[in-house]
């Protein structure tokens, strides 16, 4: 169980998170949504330890992890998929998967993980994780590194960012599969209706606060009827969230 207690974060005189209180139950698929600048990504980074709060605390299974460094949180079973997957020079997909597993894995095992995220394993396992890979390919590799960690809590920060519509369709399939097969809690920061649709719970953020939290059936109609700002389709003038269909 993840408990976030009275979390506050201010930067450049702007209140990014304002007294955020929320409890996320185990084994749930939770989507955090809300307009740009509502504090979603900052909250996700706080959980992983990438950002440090000004005040408040984060408890993971009862233990206060607020002051723990990133790597210790990772060892306690928290995983994080970056909005923009990181590129390296010289580090191959296989190297990165081995580092993610924190043990030696065979190429066969690495290939199995890559196949699960929809990549033709033999073509990718020895490639460098560099800018020769497309946004969609990098995103899948990022998801593969998260899958192999077998984290108890996995956070995805806007997985749809920076990928084309075709890759997005495939990404949804990967998430639907994860939804069925993965144990533990998954948090996805997203603007996308297709991702909201596979959630157990939806958390709606606005201006650094949790505006609503509840079951998908309760929150989704509310979110879809609201004029919100979103990257694909919506804007501050009140246009509705774009639906992406199969």
């Amino acid at each position: 169980m993840l408990e976030i207690k009275d979390l506050c974060f201010t930067r450049d005189n702007k209140k990014i998170l304002e007294h955020v209180n929320v409890t996320l139950e185990t084994d749930k698929f939770i989507v955090i949504t809300g307009p740009n600048g509502s504090g979603k990504s900052t909250l996700a980074k706080m959980i992983m330890g990438i950002e440090k709060p000004d005040s408040g605390s984060i408890l993971w299974n009862g233990e206060d992890i607020t002051k723990l460094p990133i790597y210790e949180r990772a060892k306690k079973g928290i995983g994080f998929a970056f909005q923009q997957p990181v590129k390296f020079k010289g580090i191959t997909v296989y190297d990165l998967l081995k580092l993610s597993a924190q043990k030696d894995i065979t190429k066969k095992e690495a290939c199995e993980i890559l196949s699960r995220v929809g990549l033709c394993a033999n073509e990718y396992v020895d490639r460098e994780v560099n800018s020769s890979l497309s946004g969609g390919e990098l995103k899948r590799i990022e998801i593969a590194t998260i899958s192999i960690q077998k984290s108890k809590l996995t956070i995805f920060d806007e997985p749809e960012a920076g990928i084309d519509l075709w890759s997005f369709q495939n990404l949804i399939q990967v998430f639907e599969k994860m939804r069925k097969e993965t144990k533990g809690t998954t948090i996805i920061i997203s603007h996308q209706e297709r991702i909201l649709e596979i959630a157990d719970e939806i958390l709606l953020m606005k201006e650094g606060k949790i505006e609503r939290k509840g079951e998908k059936t309760e929150i989704l109609p509310l979110v879809l009827s609201k004029p919100v700002c979103c990257k694909l389709g919506g804007n501050k003038s009140g246009k509705r969230r774009q639906r992406i269909t199969k």
């Binding site: 992983m48 460094p69 790597y71 020079k89 010289g90 924190q102």
Partner: protein
Amino acid sequence: MENVDKELLNKIADTSEFEGAYNIRKNGQGIERKVTPNINILTKTDKPGIDIYIKENTKYEFVHIPVIITESGLNDIVYNDFYIGKNANVVIIAGCGIHNDHHKDSQHDGIHRFFLEEGAKVKYVEKHYGEGTGDGKRILNPVTEVYLKQGSNLEMETVQIKGVDHSIRITKGELGVNTNLVISEKIMTGGAQYAKTIFEVELKGENASTKVTSRSVATEKSCQQFESKIIGNTKCFGHVECDAIIKDSAKVIAIPEIVANNVEANLIHEAAIGKIAGEQLMKLMTLGLTEKEAEEEIIKGFLK
């Protein structure tokens, strides 16, 4: 051979027992040599060094010519010339390891020239390494000259990872018609070490091409300088890439020069110097690595 000799050989050649032809030089003298029906090694009569003759059509044979120095204060210069026959395809492994436990400087300058006949293909690997507890410097100044005749190609990997206090590495190439020269350099310096690299490749023949890649890591107070010059005289292609990670109070200088003497010459130079990207460290830390472990993995991958 003593244990220290074997250890040095293992560092620079990954083995102390060689297959194929070889010539081992220790403290300025040849100590072991083996030739094969296709590869002959002769001692030069006018200056220190050897001539290596590889018969035409020799396929997939190895030549090892390691140098080890364990004597403090030695200044060893050696001239090695390689004559590669038509359509031969061989791997040549050179390198120098210095063990210096004393206060006098030890130095090795290896001047290697490669003459490739038509259609010949060579993979040339050289590794430089220094060790020892003394304050005497370990100095290495390798010079490599490559002359490629029509249709030949040479791939060179040069590595200087540890323990070399001062090095000036000069690599020159003259490329004929339909030839290709690929050079990959990996350097890591620390302490107050200094490493300078000079590449000069002249693309003389039509469709000659070269790709020079340098990846280096400079830490502590060390200094590296990378100078490259590619001259295109005809329809040709040249690409130089210098990529350096800098840490602490280290200094890296990259000086590119590309000279196109012909409208069909296509020459590219890329250079990037910077610290390890914060997001790279962050990503590996989210996988459970400490900042130090993450940094080591990034450098290991970068220099792989």
